[in-house]
Symmetry: C2
Subunit: 525 residues, 2 copies
């Protein structure tokens, strides 16, 4: 049996996988040839792997027996480290499953991808709620909570426990874990002090995590399993965004310029290509995601993700995720809702509600004017689902900030939106966003209409990609290429931002298509 004859064994294209499962027909030791078991194994392995290979004691202790079980035919599980490989397991029979787990450690949900290195496929993916929510919805509350050592250890423990619960049933088969999370999530995962993150000058403990052992984190996996945590580029530019960038590969693009826009709890925008990565973050904020709306909710079952208003027939049609009875509106629903209100004359240029043509949908709730999307009899909880005028104003500030950032980043390097090759939209609603609505509202420029690609949970996909291409060097080079810009301090920021809070913009010439659409429908006030 030749070492190239097996299915599931190493092929050239797999050479970068975090885990490699290699079949070896090890030449047997011969009398008088100064053989060592480790030596003949490495010699056989070196035909596949040229890099240094570490054999840990755990493997050495079983090596002589495993080699002789099936006449020196073995399956070796190799883990890729930054500067060497390590033998993580050795079998005398072909293993059925060799798993890697990619984890997107969000502050709200934790997403898991279970990948099989033998079948080369994702076996399952799912999300759970981040248990830290019991401490507080927002990160600042959790940071304050974790100032004391024992409290930090508590946050660390509940996080690890929640992850372990999902790993436990297959733990012995898990050899590699990749995790991406924002800077604070990564600190909580590793139990690193967060005390100086919220004190001036706002210094996190670390940006880079050397490859860790699952056991030193307390993660339930194979004894020698490795954990790669995506690095941060800044306090507000965490491993989740680095993972997203890694997935988008805009850092490899040779032609033109690319936007990578991640709208999650924060909004991070990256403009770049293979030569540079210009980064701005934190300015847009959670208003775009829907999290802070009274009727806002995560993009889960029952969330309204599509809304259409027909002012002529006085009908509002919506679609929920999973076609369930509605429980609230998620980010993509909110954008379309506000855009539809504007197109149908229910929202003015300045963001004021216009009750006149659809009065039965407007109602004061707790003394504030709200637009009703669903009446109590339609909803799961029997309550109104609505958006308030004040909430729309907040949204317009956020979308205005987003447009301002996009504009200023282009100006920084002397290009216009026409020079943008692709807008990658990531984040909790990156895939679902109605680009038409986003452009109608002036959140994205009109150039985005034909050039936008939704990349969904780019962070999670990036973590998964690292299982398939464990290229530490590439991650380091992304980090090295990033330049951070504080745009809020630019004098021009306020000037553009002020006009960008109108719908779509105070300068309608920037949005000729929106203008044309409006001319056919309602009068500009």
């Amino acid at each position: 049996m030749d070492s190239t004859m097996c299915s599931g064994c190493l092929k050239d294209k797999d050479l970068k996988e975090a885990i490699q499962v290699i079949f070896l027909d090890v030449p047997k030791p011969i009398l008088g040839q100064w053989n060592f078991d480790s030596q003949i194994l490495l010699k056989a392995l070196n035909k596949h792997i040229k890099d240094p290979i570490k054999i840990p004691l755990y493997i050495l202790k079983k090596l002589p027996y495993v080699l002789r079980e099936k006449d020196f035919k073995v399956w070796v599980v190799l883990g890729k480290k930054e500067r060497e490989y390590e033998i993580l397991e050795i079998f005398s029979e072909k293993p059925s499953e060799i798993l890697g787990v990619a984890i997107d450690l969000g502050s709200t949900t934790i997403a898991f991808y279970f990948y099989d290195f033998i079948k080369k496929e994702v076996l399952k993916k799912f999300s759970i709620t981040n248990p830290q929510i019991e401490i507080g919805e927002d990160i600042l509350t959790r940071l304050h909570f974790a100032r004391k050592k024992e409290k930090l250890e508590y946050v660390n423990r509940i996080t690890i426990d929640a992850i372990n619960k999902e790993l436990r049933s297959v733990k012995d088969k898990i050899y590699y874990i990749t995790v991406c999370g924002n800077t604070v999530m990564s600190h909580f995962l590793t139990g690193l002090p967060v005390n100086y993150i919220f004190l001036e000058p706002y210094v996190p403990c670390t940006n880079w995590y050397d490859l860790l052992e699952a056991k030193e984190l307390g993660l339930e996996a194979h004894l020698l399993a490795k954990v790669f945590i995506f690095p941060s580029a800044g306090t507000y530019f965490g491993g989740d965004i680095i993972a997203g960038l890694y997935f988008s590969e805009i850092y490899k693009k040779e032609d033109g310029f690319y936007f990578f826009i991640d709208v999650g709890t924060n909004a991070e925008v990256v403009l770049g290509n293979k030569d540079f990565l210009l980064v701005c973050s934190g300015a847009a904020g959670p208003a775009l995601e829907g999290g802070i709306l009274e009727c806002g909710c995560q993009a889960k079952e029952g969330a309204i993700e599509r809304v259409e208003i027909d002012i002529l027939t006085k009908k509002i049609e919506y679609k929920t995720i999973g076609n369930k009875t509605p429980i609230g509106i998620c980010g993509s629903g909110i954008i379309q809702l506000i855009a539809q209100m504007f197109i149908n004359g229910l929202l003015s240029f300045e963001g004021k509600f216009q009750k006149e043509s659809f009065p039965e949908r407007f109602k004061k709730i707790n003394d504030e004017l709200a637009f009703i999307v669903a009446f109590p009899e339609e909803t799961a909880m029997g309550n109104y689902i609505y958006i308030k005028e004040r909430e729309v104003k907040n949204f317009l500030r956020s979308k205005g900030a987003m447009f301002t950032i996009l504009t200023l980043l282009c100006e920084k390097i002397g290009i216009t939106f026409k020079d943008i090759n692709t807008f990658y939209l990531a984040g909790s609603f990156g895939n679902k966003i109605d680009v038409d609505s986003a452009v109608t509202l002036g959140m994205l420029p009109e150039e985005a209409l034909s050039k936008t690609i939704g990349v969904g949970n780019a962070a999670g996909e990036g973590a998964l990609k690292f299982l398939k291409k464990a290229d530490f060097e590439e991650i380091r080079s992304i980090l090295g290429n990033i330049t951070y810009i504080e745009l809020n301090r630019e004098p021009k920021f306020m000037e553009i931002f002020t006009g960008a809070q109108f719908v779509p913009n105070v300068n309608l010439e920037l949005f000729p298509k929106v203008r044309k659409k409006l001319e056919g429908k309602v009068c500009l006030k």
Copy 2:
């Protein structure tokens, strides 16, 4: 305070030490500069160390606090690994002692060297008895004993326990441990299976040990302390010999050819220089060391290490180690004893005892003829100290084998003893050996008379050297340069060996100086 101002901090010449203690005045983080504690630390360190530096979780967890204890002034303890450095500790005050321990794990004794990386000096050195002796004096007995897993674990445990007893009192200050031992000792230390070492084709588990953690071996040292175990080149060419070679540096010599001769429980001979290392081992055996003589003993207090016979005055004078009452004869004493017997006509050319001129010193013991070195009233135990004719014959076989090996190794590469630059004599009696006696007996060629350097416990010194120059690459290159030769199988071996069992040799022309000395003293039989 500048980082060059401290004593005990890194200088260029120290760059290769296994442990480096570096003072850093870390630039403080500045608002708006995207600082991370790990990042500013590494930046400061990179002025001293260009290689990659790993910061383990243990350090990261304390880093923010230690940095701020004394205004970002810190002492960093760095450990050298094969492909990177690792931060092992960080202090806000200058540490008083940072220790490394070099251990020569002999099958009989374990020698310790405690080295202080701050003072740059050996604080103490001493030996203890290898506790494995309770299982059996010789290695084969121990190998058989350790065939079963639980027995192997027992041998491993008593070995580790014995070492720990010596480390315990300063364990928190120990950051690096180097160990050299023969192939079996290294397996026992690491708990690796030895089952196939004594079964054909005699395959040990491993030759190379990747740098280990002290804690994974159960050694009592700093939490992150590293352990380097010298590799083996062959079953009978272990880490002790590699360490000895490393100390002798014959692998660096550019001019001429060098012998490295280690006579311990086995005898290993290396001939080489910077271009090659030709190795032969195991042939001479323990007869040279004295271990298998009825009155033989280790080179310890009370061991007779020098003997002089004056046949005219009928006096035998001896000197013991520590000038104690004699307990036995050690290796160097045996060589001189046999040489003195020969010179004084008490031993024939063929190795037969010649009673005639000193009959009161010859006596039958258990039916075998013996030469009395000390009478019962002179000795510690009240017994005779003697050497038997049969034992001398055994010795002559061993010394004959040694001379044969030296001769054949030279012939292999087409040189003669005249081309040898230096004979390095290592091993338990390398320092003490009376070269004149060894030449008189024909164990070493006459060229050795003026060219021999005793390097004492070269193995232990090699282990110590690795603390000061942790050059993994050099050790790998020594291993790579070694060519092993099985001389016993050469047809010429028996021819030379037969003649070399005479004293000094059947071919007296090889030993003109010995011949001259004999002509003035006694008749050649």
